[in-house]
Amino acid sequence: MSSGTPVIELRNVDKSFGPIDVLHEISLKVGEGEVLCLLGDNGAGKSTLIKTLAGVHQPTRGEILMDGQATRFSGPRDAQARGIATVHQFGGTYPLMSIGRNFFMGMEPTRGFGPFRVFDREKANRIAVEEVQKMGITRITDGDRLVGGLSGGERQSLAIARAVYFGARVLILDEPTAALGVKQAAHVLRIVNEAKRRGLAVIFITHQVMHAMAVGDHFAVLIRGAIAADFRKGERTREEIADLMAGGESMADLEASIEGPADAAEGRTAAAPL
Protein backbone atom coordinates (compact mmCIF):
# COMPACT_ATOMS: atom_id res chain seq x y z
CA MET A 1 0.00 0.00 0.00
CA SER A 2 2.82 2.39 0.76
CA SER A 3 3.42 4.56 -2.24
CA GLY A 4 6.54 6.44 -3.21
CA THR A 5 7.86 8.95 -0.70
CA PRO A 6 7.35 8.12 2.95
CA VAL A 7 5.22 10.54 4.93
CA ILE A 8 7.85 10.81 7.60
CA GLU A 9 11.42 9.71 7.57
CA LEU A 10 14.32 9.96 9.97
CA ARG A 11 17.83 9.91 8.56
CA ASN A 12 20.72 9.11 10.86
CA VAL A 13 19.18 10.92 13.76
CA ASP A 14 21.25 11.23 16.93
CA LYS A 15 19.99 12.69 20.13
CA SER A 16 22.07 13.40 23.16
CA PHE A 17 21.35 15.24 26.37
CA GLY A 18 24.63 16.79 27.35
CA PRO A 19 27.18 14.01 27.46
CA ILE A 20 24.57 11.25 27.42
CA ASP A 21 23.79 9.78 24.03
CA VAL A 22 20.28 8.47 23.92
CA LEU A 23 19.72 7.81 20.24
CA HIS A 24 22.33 6.83 17.69
CA GLU A 25 21.95 6.85 13.94
CA ILE A 26 18.25 6.22 13.86
CA SER A 27 16.87 5.83 10.37
CA LEU A 28 13.20 5.07 9.91
CA LYS A 29 10.49 5.67 7.38
CA VAL A 30 6.76 5.22 7.29
CA GLY A 31 4.53 5.60 4.29
CA GLU A 32 0.81 6.19 3.92
CA GLY A 33 -1.33 3.36 5.15
CA GLU A 34 1.62 1.66 6.72
CA VAL A 35 2.17 0.56 10.29
CA LEU A 36 5.68 0.69 11.66
CA CYS A 37 6.08 -1.19 14.90
CA LEU A 38 8.77 0.12 17.13
CA LEU A 39 9.76 -2.55 19.59
CA GLY A 40 12.04 -2.14 22.49
CA ASP A 41 12.52 -2.93 26.13
CA ASN A 42 12.20 -0.27 28.80
CA GLY A 43 14.97 2.27 28.58
CA ALA A 44 15.75 1.50 24.95
CA GLY A 45 15.11 5.11 23.97
CA LYS A 46 11.56 4.71 22.71
CA SER A 47 10.23 7.73 24.58
CA THR A 48 13.04 9.95 23.37
CA LEU A 49 12.42 8.81 19.83
CA ILE A 50 8.72 9.58 20.12
CA LYS A 51 9.44 12.97 21.56
CA THR A 52 11.85 13.71 18.75
CA LEU A 53 9.21 12.73 16.22
CA ALA A 54 6.58 14.79 18.01
CA GLY A 55 8.70 17.92 18.04
CA VAL A 56 9.37 17.97 21.78
CA HIS A 57 13.10 17.40 21.22
CA GLN A 58 15.25 18.54 18.32
CA PRO A 59 17.61 15.94 16.89
CA THR A 60 21.24 16.63 17.79
CA ARG A 61 22.38 15.39 14.40
CA GLY A 62 20.64 13.98 11.37
CA GLU A 63 17.43 15.10 9.77
CA ILE A 64 13.70 14.58 9.75
CA LEU A 65 11.93 14.51 6.41
CA MET A 66 8.25 14.97 5.80
CA ASP A 67 7.07 14.01 2.32
CA GLY A 68 10.69 13.95 1.27
CA GLN A 69 11.39 17.50 2.45
CA ALA A 70 13.91 18.10 5.22
CA THR A 71 12.11 19.75 8.08
CA ARG A 72 12.48 20.98 11.64
CA PHE A 73 9.75 21.14 14.21
CA SER A 74 9.95 24.20 16.40
CA GLY A 75 7.84 22.53 19.06
CA PRO A 76 5.04 20.05 19.68
CA ARG A 77 2.45 22.47 18.35
CA ASP A 78 4.34 22.87 15.12
CA ALA A 79 4.58 19.12 14.69
CA GLN A 80 0.88 18.82 15.41
CA ALA A 81 0.01 21.49 12.91
CA ARG A 82 1.83 19.46 10.30
CA GLY A 83 -0.16 16.40 11.09
CA ILE A 84 1.83 14.49 13.65
CA ALA A 85 -0.39 13.24 16.44
CA THR A 86 0.80 11.39 19.51
CA VAL A 87 -1.49 9.25 21.62
CA HIS A 88 -0.03 8.28 24.97
CA GLN A 89 -0.47 5.21 27.04
CA PHE A 90 -3.43 6.49 28.98
CA GLY A 91 -4.96 8.15 25.98
CA GLY A 92 -4.23 11.71 27.03
CA THR A 93 -7.78 12.09 28.22
CA TYR A 94 -9.23 13.91 31.19
CA PRO A 95 -11.36 11.50 33.21
CA LEU A 96 -13.59 14.09 34.84
CA MET A 97 -14.48 15.86 31.62
CA SER A 98 -17.11 14.95 29.08
CA ILE A 99 -16.37 13.08 25.87
CA GLY A 100 -17.20 16.14 23.79
CA ARG A 101 -14.89 18.37 25.79
CA ASN A 102 -12.11 15.83 25.72
CA PHE A 103 -12.41 15.38 22.00
CA PHE A 104 -12.03 19.07 21.26
CA MET A 105 -9.47 19.92 23.94
CA GLY A 106 -7.38 22.78 22.68
CA MET A 107 -9.45 23.02 19.50
CA GLU A 108 -12.80 24.02 20.95
CA PRO A 109 -15.60 24.78 18.52
CA THR A 110 -17.22 28.06 19.44
CA ARG A 111 -20.26 30.10 18.65
CA GLY A 112 -20.82 33.81 18.96
CA PHE A 113 -18.57 36.79 18.51
CA GLY A 114 -15.37 38.22 19.90
CA PRO A 115 -15.06 37.97 23.66
CA PHE A 116 -18.47 36.33 23.92
CA ARG A 117 -17.52 33.20 22.06
CA VAL A 118 -18.93 30.22 23.87
CA PHE A 119 -17.96 26.59 23.69
CA ASP A 120 -20.43 24.87 21.36
CA ARG A 121 -21.28 21.89 23.49
CA GLU A 122 -23.85 20.33 21.19
CA LYS A 123 -21.65 20.50 18.15
CA ALA A 124 -18.68 19.13 20.07
CA ASN A 125 -20.71 16.25 21.46
CA ARG A 126 -22.28 15.41 18.13
CA ILE A 127 -19.00 15.32 16.23
CA ALA A 128 -17.19 13.45 18.98
CA VAL A 129 -19.81 10.71 19.12
CA GLU A 130 -19.96 10.44 15.33
CA GLU A 131 -16.23 10.12 14.97
CA VAL A 132 -15.85 7.58 17.74
CA GLN A 133 -18.67 5.51 16.28
CA LYS A 134 -17.03 5.61 12.88
CA MET A 135 -14.05 4.02 14.54
CA GLY A 136 -16.29 1.16 15.55
CA ILE A 137 -17.05 2.05 19.16
CA THR A 138 -20.81 1.94 19.09
CA ARG A 139 -21.22 1.84 22.85
CA ILE A 140 -20.55 5.56 23.05
CA THR A 141 -23.73 7.43 22.27
CA ASP A 142 -23.70 10.40 24.60
CA GLY A 143 -21.08 13.09 24.33
CA ASP A 144 -21.93 14.39 27.80
CA ARG A 145 -20.67 11.29 29.51
CA LEU A 146 -17.49 11.66 31.45
CA VAL A 147 -14.46 9.91 30.06
CA GLY A 148 -13.73 8.44 33.48
CA GLY A 149 -16.62 6.05 32.87
CA LEU A 150 -15.09 4.61 29.70
CA SER A 151 -12.87 1.58 29.52
CA GLY A 152 -9.18 1.91 28.76
CA GLY A 153 -9.68 0.70 25.20
CA GLU A 154 -12.49 3.17 24.60
CA ARG A 155 -10.30 5.99 25.87
CA GLN A 156 -7.57 5.02 23.47
CA SER A 157 -10.09 4.85 20.69
CA LEU A 158 -11.37 8.28 21.58
CA ALA A 159 -7.86 9.68 21.45
CA ILE A 160 -7.15 8.02 18.12
CA ALA A 161 -10.46 9.17 16.66
CA ARG A 162 -9.58 12.65 17.80
CA ALA A 163 -6.22 12.55 16.06
CA VAL A 164 -7.79 11.25 12.85
CA TYR A 165 -10.50 13.89 12.95
CA PHE A 166 -8.00 16.71 13.32
CA GLY A 167 -6.23 15.65 10.17
CA ALA A 168 -3.32 13.68 11.53
CA ARG A 169 -1.18 12.10 8.84
CA VAL A 170 1.25 10.44 11.19
CA LEU A 171 -0.17 8.73 14.23
CA ILE A 172 2.28 7.88 16.98
CA LEU A 173 0.85 5.41 19.45
CA ASP A 174 2.88 5.12 22.61
CA GLU A 175 2.21 1.75 24.20
CA PRO A 176 -1.51 1.94 23.59
CA THR A 177 -2.13 -1.64 24.63
CA ALA A 178 0.25 -1.87 27.58
CA ALA A 179 -2.31 -1.35 30.32
CA LEU A 180 -5.17 -3.18 28.65
CA GLY A 181 -6.69 -6.61 28.89
CA VAL A 182 -6.84 -8.97 25.95
CA LYS A 183 -10.26 -7.87 24.68
CA GLN A 184 -9.53 -4.19 25.09
CA ALA A 185 -6.23 -4.57 23.32
CA ALA A 186 -7.93 -6.28 20.40
CA HIS A 187 -10.25 -3.31 20.26
CA VAL A 188 -7.38 -0.88 19.98
CA LEU A 189 -5.63 -3.01 17.39
CA ARG A 190 -8.77 -2.97 15.29
CA ILE A 191 -8.72 0.80 15.44
CA VAL A 192 -5.07 0.86 14.44
CA ASN A 193 -6.10 -1.13 11.38
CA GLU A 194 -8.90 1.33 10.73
CA ALA A 195 -6.46 4.24 10.87
CA LYS A 196 -4.16 2.40 8.51
CA ARG A 197 -7.05 1.75 6.12
CA ARG A 198 -7.68 5.48 6.07
CA GLY A 199 -4.18 6.06 4.85
CA LEU A 200 -2.47 7.26 8.00
CA ALA A 201 1.15 6.49 8.65
CA VAL A 202 1.13 4.77 12.02
CA ILE A 203 4.08 4.38 14.35
CA PHE A 204 3.10 1.83 16.93
CA ILE A 205 5.32 1.58 19.98
CA THR A 206 5.00 -1.50 22.08
CA HIS A 207 6.87 -4.20 23.86
CA GLN A 208 4.18 -6.77 23.25
CA VAL A 209 5.34 -8.75 20.27
CA MET A 210 1.95 -10.32 19.67
CA HIS A 211 0.25 -6.96 19.34
CA ALA A 212 2.94 -5.73 17.01
CA MET A 213 2.68 -8.76 14.78
CA ALA A 214 -1.08 -8.40 14.57
CA VAL A 215 -0.99 -5.01 12.87
CA GLY A 216 2.57 -4.26 11.77
CA ASP A 217 3.84 -4.02 8.20
CA HIS A 218 7.30 -3.07 9.17
CA PHE A 219 9.25 -3.61 12.37
CA ALA A 220 12.19 -1.92 13.99
CA VAL A 221 13.77 -3.13 17.20
CA LEU A 222 15.40 -0.51 19.38
CA ILE A 223 18.17 -1.52 21.74
CA ARG A 224 20.12 1.01 23.80
CA GLY A 225 19.19 3.83 21.48
CA ALA A 226 20.13 2.14 18.23
CA ILE A 227 18.13 0.18 15.72
CA ALA A 228 19.18 -3.40 16.19
CA ALA A 229 16.98 -4.90 13.53
CA ASP A 230 14.74 -3.66 10.78
CA PHE A 231 12.56 -6.06 8.85
CA ARG A 232 9.23 -6.44 7.12
CA LYS A 233 6.23 -8.50 8.00
CA GLY A 234 6.83 -12.22 7.79
CA GLU A 235 10.60 -12.00 7.78
CA ARG A 236 11.04 -13.02 11.39
CA THR A 237 9.23 -15.30 13.75
CA ARG A 238 7.76 -14.24 17.02
CA GLU A 239 10.54 -15.94 18.96
CA GLU A 240 13.21 -14.17 16.99
CA ILE A 241 11.62 -10.79 17.67
CA ALA A 242 11.27 -11.50 21.35
CA ASP A 243 14.90 -12.52 21.48
CA LEU A 244 15.91 -9.33 19.72
CA MET A 245 13.98 -7.21 22.16
CA ALA A 246 15.59 -8.90 25.10
CA GLY A 247 18.86 -7.49 23.88
CA GLY A 248 20.07 -10.26 21.67
CA GLU A 249 20.00 -12.82 24.44
CA SER A 250 17.82 -15.69 23.63
CA MET A 251 14.52 -15.72 25.45
CA ALA A 252 15.17 -19.32 26.34
CA ASP A 253 18.32 -18.22 28.18
CA LEU A 254 16.39 -15.60 30.07
CA GLU A 255 13.71 -18.07 31.02
CA ALA A 256 16.30 -20.47 32.24
CA SER A 257 17.97 -17.83 34.37
CA ILE A 258 14.65 -16.87 35.92
CA GLU A 259 13.63 -20.41 36.69
CA GLY A 260 16.98 -21.50 38.07
CA PRO A 261 17.61 -21.30 41.81
CA ALA A 262 18.78 -17.92 43.05
CA ASP A 263 22.29 -19.08 43.88
CA ALA A 264 22.75 -20.22 40.29
CA ALA A 265 21.65 -16.85 38.93
CA GLU A 266 25.15 -15.65 38.21
CA GLY A 267 25.59 -18.57 35.88
CA ARG A 268 23.13 -17.49 33.23
CA THR A 269 25.34 -18.92 30.52
CA ALA A 270 25.95 -21.98 32.57
CA ALA A 271 22.23 -22.53 32.85
CA ALA A 272 21.73 -22.02 29.16
CA PRO A 273 22.22 -25.60 28.02
CA LEU A 274 19.05 -26.54 29.88
Binding site: A54, P76, R77, Q80, T86, H88, F90, G92, T93, Y94, P95, L96, M97, R101, F104, M105, G106, M107, E108, P109, T110, R111, G112, F113, F116, R117, V118, F119, D120, R121, E122, K123, T141, D142, D144, R145, L146, G148, G149
Partner: protein
Protein backbone atom coordinates in the same frame (compact mmCIF):
# COMPACT_ATOMS: atom_id res chain seq x y z
CA UNK B 1 -8.59 26.87 14.23
CA UNK B 2 -12.08 27.31 15.57
CA UNK B 3 -14.90 27.54 13.12
CA UNK B 4 -17.53 29.91 14.24
CA UNK B 5 -20.96 28.99 13.05
CA UNK B 6 -22.92 32.12 12.46
CA UNK B 7 -25.67 31.80 14.98
CA UNK B 8 -26.95 35.13 16.15
CA UNK B 9 -26.23 36.61 19.55
CA UNK B 10 -29.58 36.66 21.36
CA UNK B 11 -30.45 32.98 21.75
CA UNK B 12 -27.03 32.23 23.10
CA UNK B 13 -26.82 31.48 26.78
CA UNK B 14 -30.14 29.96 27.76
CA UNK B 15 -29.79 27.24 25.12
CA UNK B 16 -29.75 23.52 25.70
CA UNK B 17 -31.33 23.75 29.13
CA UNK B 18 -34.83 24.14 27.76
CA UNK B 19 -35.23 21.66 24.89
CA UNK B 20 -34.48 18.45 26.75
CA UNK B 21 -35.52 18.58 30.39
CA UNK B 22 -34.34 15.04 31.12
CA UNK B 23 -30.85 15.97 30.05
CA UNK B 24 -30.66 19.12 32.13
CA UNK B 25 -31.92 17.24 35.16
CA UNK B 26 -29.24 14.65 34.69
CA UNK B 27 -26.67 17.32 34.22
CA UNK B 28 -27.84 19.03 37.37
CA UNK B 29 -27.69 15.85 39.40
CA UNK B 30 -24.22 14.84 38.43
CA UNK B 31 -22.89 18.35 38.65
CA UNK B 32 -20.75 19.04 41.70
CA UNK B 33 -23.05 21.96 42.45
CA UNK B 34 -25.91 19.61 43.28
CA UNK B 35 -24.34 18.42 46.52
CA UNK B 36 -23.37 21.93 47.45
CA UNK B 37 -26.88 23.16 46.80
CA UNK B 38 -28.46 20.41 48.86
CA UNK B 39 -26.02 21.10 51.68
CA UNK B 40 -26.86 24.77 51.58
CA UNK B 41 -30.59 24.11 51.49
CA UNK B 42 -30.31 21.79 54.46
CA UNK B 43 -28.27 24.19 56.58
CA UNK B 44 -30.51 27.08 55.60
CA UNK B 45 -33.68 25.24 56.55
CA UNK B 46 -32.29 24.10 59.91
CA UNK B 47 -31.08 27.60 60.69
CA UNK B 48 -34.34 29.13 59.53
CA UNK B 49 -36.24 26.89 61.93
CA UNK B 50 -34.01 27.79 64.85
CA UNK B 51 -33.85 31.41 63.85
CA UNK B 52 -37.47 32.05 63.04
CA UNK B 53 -37.97 33.98 66.27
CA UNK B 54 -34.62 35.71 66.01
CA UNK B 55 -34.89 37.57 62.72
CA UNK B 56 -32.84 35.07 60.77
CA UNK B 57 -35.18 35.55 57.84
CA UNK B 58 -35.34 39.33 58.10
CA UNK B 59 -33.51 41.50 55.59
CA UNK B 60 -31.04 42.44 58.28
CA UNK B 61 -30.35 38.83 59.13
CA UNK B 62 -29.97 37.68 55.55
CA UNK B 63 -27.85 40.64 54.52
CA UNK B 64 -25.41 39.96 57.35
CA UNK B 65 -24.36 36.60 56.08
CA UNK B 66 -24.75 37.48 52.42
CA UNK B 67 -22.42 40.46 52.92
CA UNK B 68 -19.90 38.19 54.58
CA UNK B 69 -20.30 35.62 51.81
CA UNK B 70 -19.74 38.20 49.10
CA UNK B 71 -16.26 39.06 50.39
CA UNK B 72 -15.28 35.43 50.84
CA UNK B 73 -16.95 34.44 47.59
CA UNK B 74 -15.18 36.84 45.29
CA UNK B 75 -11.90 35.39 46.55
CA UNK B 76 -13.09 31.80 46.77
CA UNK B 77 -14.13 31.47 43.12
CA UNK B 78 -10.76 32.30 41.55
CA UNK B 79 -9.05 30.29 44.31
CA UNK B 80 -11.39 27.51 43.25
CA UNK B 81 -10.24 27.92 39.64
CA UNK B 82 -6.71 27.27 40.84
CA UNK B 83 -7.93 24.24 42.75
CA UNK B 84 -9.63 22.94 39.60
CA UNK B 85 -6.34 23.52 37.79
CA UNK B 86 -4.60 21.43 40.44
CA UNK B 87 -2.99 24.31 42.34
CA UNK B 88 -3.64 26.11 45.58
CA UNK B 89 -3.36 29.75 46.56
CA UNK B 90 -3.12 30.63 50.24
CA UNK B 91 -1.35 33.95 49.78
CA UNK B 92 -4.80 35.58 49.77
CA UNK B 93 -4.53 36.07 53.53
CA UNK B 94 -1.72 38.57 52.97
CA UNK B 95 -2.91 40.08 49.70
CA UNK B 96 -6.07 41.25 51.43
CA UNK B 97 -4.32 43.54 53.98
CA UNK B 98 -1.66 44.51 51.44
CA UNK B 99 -4.25 45.89 49.04
CA UNK B 100 -6.29 47.41 51.85
CA UNK B 101 -3.24 49.27 53.16
CA UNK B 102 -2.26 50.34 49.66
CA UNK B 103 -5.56 52.04 48.98
CA UNK B 104 -5.78 53.48 52.49
CA UNK B 105 -2.27 54.89 52.48
CA UNK B 106 -2.47 56.36 48.99
CA UNK B 107 -6.01 57.71 49.07
CA UNK B 108 -6.38 58.21 52.81
CA UNK B 109 -3.04 59.16 54.33
CA UNK B 110 -1.63 60.92 51.27
CA UNK B 111 -5.07 62.11 50.15
CA UNK B 112 -4.60 61.27 46.52
CA UNK B 113 -7.58 60.48 44.25
CA UNK B 114 -9.43 57.34 45.27
CA UNK B 115 -9.19 55.73 41.85
CA UNK B 116 -5.41 55.98 41.99
CA UNK B 117 -5.45 54.09 45.26
CA UNK B 118 -7.83 51.47 43.89
CA UNK B 119 -5.71 50.93 40.79
CA UNK B 120 -2.53 50.73 42.85
CA UNK B 121 -4.13 48.18 45.17
CA UNK B 122 -5.27 46.04 42.24
CA UNK B 123 -1.78 46.28 40.72
CA UNK B 124 -0.26 45.10 43.98
CA UNK B 125 -2.60 42.13 43.83
CA UNK B 126 -1.78 41.40 40.20
CA UNK B 127 1.93 41.63 40.90
CA UNK B 128 1.78 39.17 43.79
CA UNK B 129 -0.21 36.79 41.63
CA UNK B 130 2.31 37.14 38.85
CA UNK B 131 5.16 36.32 41.23
CA UNK B 132 3.25 33.30 42.55
CA UNK B 133 2.55 32.11 39.04
CA UNK B 134 6.10 32.62 37.83
CA UNK B 135 7.60 30.71 40.75
CA UNK B 136 5.10 27.86 40.45
CA UNK B 137 5.56 27.44 36.71
CA UNK B 138 9.32 27.93 36.63
CA UNK B 139 10.13 25.62 39.53
CA UNK B 140 8.75 22.30 40.58
CA UNK B 141 7.83 23.59 44.02
CA UNK B 142 4.19 22.82 44.90
CA UNK B 143 1.99 25.90 44.84
CA UNK B 144 0.98 25.31 48.45
CA UNK B 145 4.56 25.97 49.56
CA UNK B 146 5.12 28.81 47.12
CA UNK B 147 2.01 30.68 48.20
CA UNK B 148 2.75 29.90 51.85
CA UNK B 149 6.05 31.65 51.33
CA UNK B 150 4.49 34.65 49.60
CA UNK B 151 1.82 34.73 52.30
CA UNK B 152 4.43 35.35 54.96
CA UNK B 153 6.67 37.50 52.82
CA UNK B 154 3.85 39.81 51.77
CA UNK B 155 2.42 39.92 55.30
CA UNK B 156 5.79 40.94 56.69
CA UNK B 157 6.37 43.45 53.95
CA UNK B 158 2.96 45.03 54.49
CA UNK B 159 3.64 45.48 58.20
CA UNK B 160 7.09 46.94 57.83
CA UNK B 161 6.21 49.18 54.89
CA UNK B 162 3.26 50.65 56.73
CA UNK B 163 5.59 51.52 59.61
CA UNK B 164 7.98 53.10 57.13
CA UNK B 165 5.32 55.15 55.35
CA UNK B 166 2.79 56.08 58.00
CA UNK B 167 4.47 54.94 61.22
CA UNK B 168 1.50 52.87 62.29
CA UNK B 169 -0.08 49.58 61.24
CA UNK B 170 -3.58 50.93 60.77
CA UNK B 171 -5.02 53.88 59.02
CA UNK B 172 -8.36 55.30 58.04
CA UNK B 173 -9.77 56.21 54.69
CA UNK B 174 -12.69 58.48 54.01
CA UNK B 175 -13.68 57.91 50.44
CA UNK B 176 -15.70 60.49 48.52
CA UNK B 177 -19.43 59.86 48.44
CA UNK B 178 -19.62 58.41 44.94
CA UNK B 179 -16.84 55.94 45.72
CA UNK B 180 -18.46 55.10 49.00
CA UNK B 181 -21.70 54.27 47.19
CA UNK B 182 -20.00 52.37 44.42
CA UNK B 183 -17.65 50.30 46.56
CA UNK B 184 -19.07 50.29 50.04
CA UNK B 185 -22.66 51.49 50.09
CA UNK B 186 -25.67 49.73 51.48
CA UNK B 187 -28.61 48.98 49.23
CA UNK B 188 -32.03 47.39 49.60
CA UNK B 189 -32.01 47.72 53.35
CA UNK B 190 -28.62 46.31 54.23
CA UNK B 191 -26.90 44.59 51.33
CA UNK B 192 -23.43 45.98 50.78
CA UNK B 193 -22.43 46.92 47.27
CA UNK B 194 -19.89 44.09 47.52
CA UNK B 195 -22.84 41.70 47.11
CA UNK B 196 -23.63 43.21 43.74
CA UNK B 197 -20.00 43.17 42.71
CA UNK B 198 -19.93 39.53 43.70
CA UNK B 199 -23.00 38.74 41.60
CA UNK B 200 -21.42 40.46 38.61
CA UNK B 201 -18.22 38.51 39.16
CA UNK B 202 -20.15 35.24 39.45
CA UNK B 203 -21.70 35.88 36.04
CA UNK B 204 -18.28 36.63 34.57
CA UNK B 205 -16.68 33.62 36.24
CA UNK B 206 -19.45 31.26 35.09
CA UNK B 207 -18.97 32.48 31.56
CA UNK B 208 -15.23 32.00 31.82
CA UNK B 209 -15.26 28.53 33.34
CA UNK B 210 -18.33 26.91 31.84
CA UNK B 211 -19.02 28.71 28.58
CA UNK B 212 -15.80 29.99 27.11
CA UNK B 213 -13.23 27.61 25.63
CA UNK B 214 -10.77 28.81 28.29
CA UNK B 215 -12.72 27.00 30.96
CA UNK B 216 -11.97 23.73 29.21
CA UNK B 217 -8.29 24.46 29.52
CA UNK B 218 -8.56 25.11 33.26
CA UNK B 219 -10.15 21.70 33.76
CA UNK B 220 -7.54 20.12 31.52
CA UNK B 221 -4.74 21.54 33.67
CA UNK B 222 -6.14 19.78 36.69
CA UNK B 223 -7.04 16.65 34.77
CA UNK B 224 -3.72 15.91 33.15
CA UNK B 225 -1.18 18.64 32.75
CA UNK B 226 1.09 16.74 30.40
CA UNK B 227 -1.76 15.97 28.01
CA UNK B 228 -2.90 19.56 28.23
CA UNK B 229 0.53 20.68 27.13
CA UNK B 230 0.49 18.15 24.31
CA UNK B 231 -2.90 19.42 23.21
CA UNK B 232 -1.29 22.80 22.66
CA UNK B 233 -2.71 24.57 25.69
CA UNK B 234 -0.44 27.37 26.95
CA UNK B 235 -0.13 25.74 30.36
CA UNK B 236 2.28 28.21 31.92
CA UNK B 237 0.58 31.38 30.77
CA UNK B 238 -2.80 30.06 31.80
CA UNK B 239 -1.51 29.19 35.26
CA UNK B 240 0.13 32.56 35.77
CA UNK B 241 -3.11 34.16 34.62
CA UNK B 242 -5.11 32.18 37.16
CA UNK B 243 -2.77 33.17 39.99
CA UNK B 244 -3.10 36.78 38.92
CA UNK B 245 -6.87 36.47 38.76
CA UNK B 246 -7.00 35.07 42.27
CA UNK B 247 -4.80 37.70 43.88
CA UNK B 248 -6.34 40.58 41.93
CA UNK B 249 -9.81 39.48 43.02
CA UNK B 250 -8.50 39.30 46.57
CA UNK B 251 -7.08 42.80 46.24
CA UNK B 252 -10.46 43.99 45.02
CA UNK B 253 -12.12 42.44 48.05
CA UNK B 254 -9.56 44.27 50.21
CA UNK B 255 -10.40 47.58 48.52
CA UNK B 256 -14.14 47.05 49.05
CA UNK B 257 -13.59 46.22 52.72
CA UNK B 258 -11.45 49.30 53.29
CA UNK B 259 -13.96 51.64 51.68
CA UNK B 260 -16.81 49.96 53.53
CA UNK B 261 -15.29 50.22 56.98
CA UNK B 262 -13.29 53.41 56.38
CA UNK B 263 -10.21 51.73 57.76
CA UNK B 264 -7.45 49.31 56.90
CA UNK B 265 -5.13 47.23 59.00
CA UNK B 266 -1.93 45.56 57.93
CA UNK B 267 -2.56 42.46 60.02
CA UNK B 268 -2.64 39.32 57.85
CA UNK B 269 -6.06 37.73 57.58
CA UNK B 270 -5.34 34.05 58.10
CA UNK B 271 -9.01 33.27 58.59
CA UNK B 272 -9.70 34.23 55.00
CA UNK B 273 -7.42 31.45 53.74
CA UNK B 274 -9.44 28.83 55.55
CA UNK B 275 -12.72 30.42 54.59
CA UNK B 276 -11.94 30.32 50.89
CA UNK B 277 -10.71 26.74 50.97
CA UNK B 278 -13.71 25.60 53.03
CA UNK B 279 -16.04 27.35 50.61
CA UNK B 280 -14.42 25.52 47.70
CA UNK B 281 -14.47 22.08 49.30
CA UNK B 282 -18.01 22.45 50.59
CA UNK B 283 -18.79 23.64 47.08
CA UNK B 284 -17.81 20.26 45.65
CA UNK B 285 -14.28 20.89 44.39
CA UNK B 286 -11.77 18.10 44.53
CA UNK B 287 -8.41 18.94 46.04
CA UNK B 288 -6.87 16.84 43.30
CA UNK B 289 -8.29 19.15 40.65
CA UNK B 290 -10.14 18.68 37.41
CA UNK B 291 -13.63 18.99 38.80
CA UNK B 292 -15.92 21.71 40.06
CA UNK B 293 -18.41 24.44 39.22
CA UNK B 294 -18.73 28.13 40.00
CA UNK B 295 -22.23 27.66 41.38
CA UNK B 296 -20.91 24.96 43.68
CA UNK B 297 -18.43 27.41 45.17
CA UNK B 298 -21.18 30.01 45.46
CA UNK B 299 -23.35 27.62 47.46
CA UNK B 300 -20.34 26.59 49.51
CA UNK B 301 -19.66 30.22 50.34
CA UNK B 302 -23.29 30.90 51.23
CA UNK B 303 -23.35 27.86 53.49
CA UNK B 304 -20.23 29.11 55.21
CA UNK B 305 -21.85 32.54 55.56
CA UNK B 306 -24.97 31.09 57.17
CA UNK B 307 -22.99 29.01 59.63
CA UNK B 308 -20.47 31.69 60.57
CA UNK B 309 -22.59 34.85 60.52
CA UNK B 310 -26.21 33.78 60.29
CA UNK B 311 -25.81 31.81 63.49
CA UNK B 312 -26.07 35.05 65.47
CA UNK B 313 -29.69 35.34 64.37
CA UNK B 314 -30.68 31.91 65.62
CA UNK B 315 -31.08 30.18 68.95
CA UNK B 316 -28.08 28.00 68.18
CA UNK B 317 -25.06 28.68 70.36
CA UNK B 318 -22.69 30.92 68.44
CA UNK B 319 -19.71 28.99 69.70
CA UNK B 320 -20.88 25.92 67.85
CA UNK B 321 -20.27 27.47 64.44
CA UNK B 322 -16.72 26.16 64.18
CA UNK B 323 -17.87 22.70 65.16
CA UNK B 324 -20.60 22.80 62.53
CA UNK B 325 -18.13 23.96 59.89
CA UNK B 326 -15.73 21.18 60.77
CA UNK B 327 -18.40 18.49 60.56
CA UNK B 328 -19.77 20.00 57.37
CA UNK B 329 -16.37 20.02 55.77
CA UNK B 330 -15.88 16.37 56.57
CA UNK B 331 -19.27 15.43 55.18
CA UNK B 332 -18.60 17.49 52.08
CA UNK B 333 -15.31 15.75 51.37
CA UNK B 334 -16.92 12.34 51.75
CA UNK B 335 -19.84 13.37 49.56
CA UNK B 336 -17.58 14.82 46.89
CA UNK B 337 -16.01 11.45 46.44
CA UNK B 338 -19.38 9.80 46.04
CA UNK B 339 -20.52 12.46 43.62
CA UNK B 340 -17.44 12.04 41.52
CA UNK B 341 -18.05 8.31 41.29
CA UNK B 342 -21.67 8.94 40.37
CA UNK B 343 -20.56 11.42 37.75
CA UNK B 344 -18.14 9.08 36.05
CA UNK B 345 -20.49 6.13 35.99
CA UNK B 346 -23.48 8.17 34.95
CA UNK B 347 -24.75 7.77 31.41
CA UNK B 348 -27.83 8.94 29.62
CA UNK B 349 -30.33 6.61 28.14
CA UNK B 350 -30.52 6.63 24.39
CA UNK B 351 -32.09 9.82 23.15
Amino acid sequence: MTDTTSTGGPAESPRAEKPSPSLSLGELMRSPAAGAFMGFAMVFIVFAIFGFQRNFLSVGGISTWVNFASTVGMIAIPVGFLMIAGELDISTGAVLPASAMTVAVISGYYEMPIMLGVCAALSVGALIGFINGMIVTRTQVPSFIVTLATLFAVAGLTLSLSIVFINTTQTSLNAPDWAKTLFGGRLLGGFRSSVFWWIAMIVGFIFFLHKSPWGNWVFALGGDQESARNAGIPVQRLKIGLFMLSSTSTAFAGVLQTIQFNAATSQANFGMIFNTIIACVVGGLLLTGGFGTVMGIVFGTLTLGVVQQGIGYTEIDRNLSFLIIGVMLLIAVLMNDTFRKLATSWSTKKK
